[in-house]
């Protein structure tokens, strides 16, 4: 056994112990920086691509997008939003015509925060699409908020006036009602509440329909946005 030599020898000096740990820490630090630096571009590109795909999904017909933030009560286009600054995305079609906003929103679900992105057309006051970005809802039950196609399609034309209401399955009567998922009532109500809250928070900050910021970017679809 190789540890025998250690046992018989005098205990190593404190200096040696400190040095061993320092060298181990140094090498480990270098390795971690190396892997962080080499994977960072892929990770940011993945996140940007996911966001673009989600924006295009919740706003049908959109081929260009730009990040918008609220500065001094006015909605302005920015290249890179500040960290922690609430940001929404403006979607534009081929002819650079404004289509709608893609609004990120988050709130508590059944187990953990649910983060969603929904498409909103201000001129018709309609939600036109919803995509769950992050959720830890119960597999098999709460995860239907993104696996149940009928439920997701329910957000394709949903009025936000006066507010969205989740009703028992099969009892949808008016344009602002959506059928909740059987067996996932809490999760489906959470999604509806998140959208309602985000809508209330943003509605006063959105410019009147027709005077949305025009698109800044000159290049087509594949420019990086929202980073």
């Amino acid at each position: 056994m190789t540890t025998d030599t250690n046992k018989q020898a005098a205990p190593p000096s404190s200096m040696r112990l400190v040095l061993t740990l320092a060298i181990a820490g140094l090498i480990s630090g270098i390795a971690i920086i190396g892997i962080y630096e080499s994977t960072l571009p892929t990770i940011t590109a993945n996140k940007a691509r996911e966001l673009r795909e989600a924006v295009f999904k919740v706003l049908p017909g959109v081929t260009r997008m730009q990040a918008l933030v609220n500065r001094n009560g006015e909605l302005v286009a920015v290249e890179a939003p500040d960290k922690d600054e609430p940001v929404i995305y403006g979607g534009y079609d081929e002819t650079r015509e404004f289509v709608g906003y893609a609004m990120p929103a988050a709130g508590p679900g059944f187990q953990d925060t649910i983060a969603i992105l929904y498409g909103y057309k201000p001129d018709e006051k309609l939600v036109v699409g919803m995509e769950v970005l992050e959720s830890r809802e119960t597999p098999g039950l709460g995860d239907k908020i993104y696996k149940d196609a009928v439920w997701v399609a329910g957000f394709n034309a949903l009025s936000v006036e006066p507010e969205i209401v989740a009703v028992k399955k099969g009892t949808k009567r008016s344009p602002n009602e959506i059928d909740a998922i059987t067996g996932a009532t809490i999760s489906s109500k959470a999604v509806v509440r998140i959208i309602n809250e985000a809508h209330t928070a943003w509605s006063s900050n959105l410019p009147p329909p027709g005077s949305e910021p025009t698109i800044q970017e000159t290049e087509t679809a594949n420019t990086e946005a929202g980073q």
Partner: protein, 214 residues
């Protein structure tokens, strides 16, 4: 002879001393991420990478690491490998990384890995340490996969995301919820212990017969 020795170290981790079924180690990832076969495989591969990498380094440096700070050194080595695995998964398979979530960083705390460093890699030559690590990691992967497959088939009617049954199959939702992990693991452990019991009984019978025969 030498070949047999490595083979012995490999096979003991896969079967006789299987980290999950025989030593009951690494229960946290075992129960938490085995709700689908693909998650189980990703977790198994990440653990494989960390365990084999750490065992190789610990065994190579075993004469340089002073006994008094060995645990800290092992943890530094393991944590570095875990961070590498974490970022690699995030870059290559972001979907799987999202599913596994907090359990990738928690590989550091998997007692299976630190246990192998302390009990084996820090005492034996590199070749045997690596064989031992591969054996243990494969054993762990098999255990994760068998649990994940059973839970996905019963709980979702699918395997690796491919539907196995007609639409009439009613999934046993409980199998992909936490209790399903305990139930499945309990039944598998029961089988293993029953098997071991039967084997011992059989060996006793053989010994008995030999004694009487001679």
């Amino acid at each position: 002879m030498k070949k047999n020795e490595s083979y012995e170290e490999f096979i003991k981790g896969v079967w006789r001393d299987n980290p999950v079924f025989a030593q009951v180690l690494g229960m946290c990832p075992m129960l938490a991420v085995t709700n689908s076969a693909i998650n189980a495989v990703a977790m198994g591969m990440a653990t494989f990478f960390v365990l084999v990498g750490s065992s190789f380094l610990v065994s190579s440096f075993r004469n340089w690491i002073p006994k008094q700070v060995r645990i800290s050194c092992f943890i530094i080595i393991i944590a570095t490998f875990v961070t590498i695995a974490d970022y690699t998964l995030l870059a290559l398979v972001p979907k799987v990384h999202k599913e596994l979530g907090a359990f990738i960083p928690l590989i550091v705390a998997n007692c299976l890995i630190l246990g192998r460093q302390e009990a084996f890699a820090s005492r034996y030559p590199t070749r045997l340490a690596v064989m031992d690590a591969i054996g243990m990691a494969v054993g762990f992967l098999i255990a994760l996969l068998s649990l994940g497959a059973v839970r996905e088939i019963l709980g979702d009617g699918a395997l690796f995301g491919v539907k196995l049954f007609s639409v009439n199959f009613e999934p046993w939702v409980i199998m992909i919820l936490p209790p399903g992990g305990f139930l499945t693991l309990g039944v598998i452990l029961l089988f293993f212990n029953w098997f071991k019991f039967k084997k011992d009984e059989f060996l006793d019978d053989v010994a008995e017969a030999e004694r009487r025969g001679s």
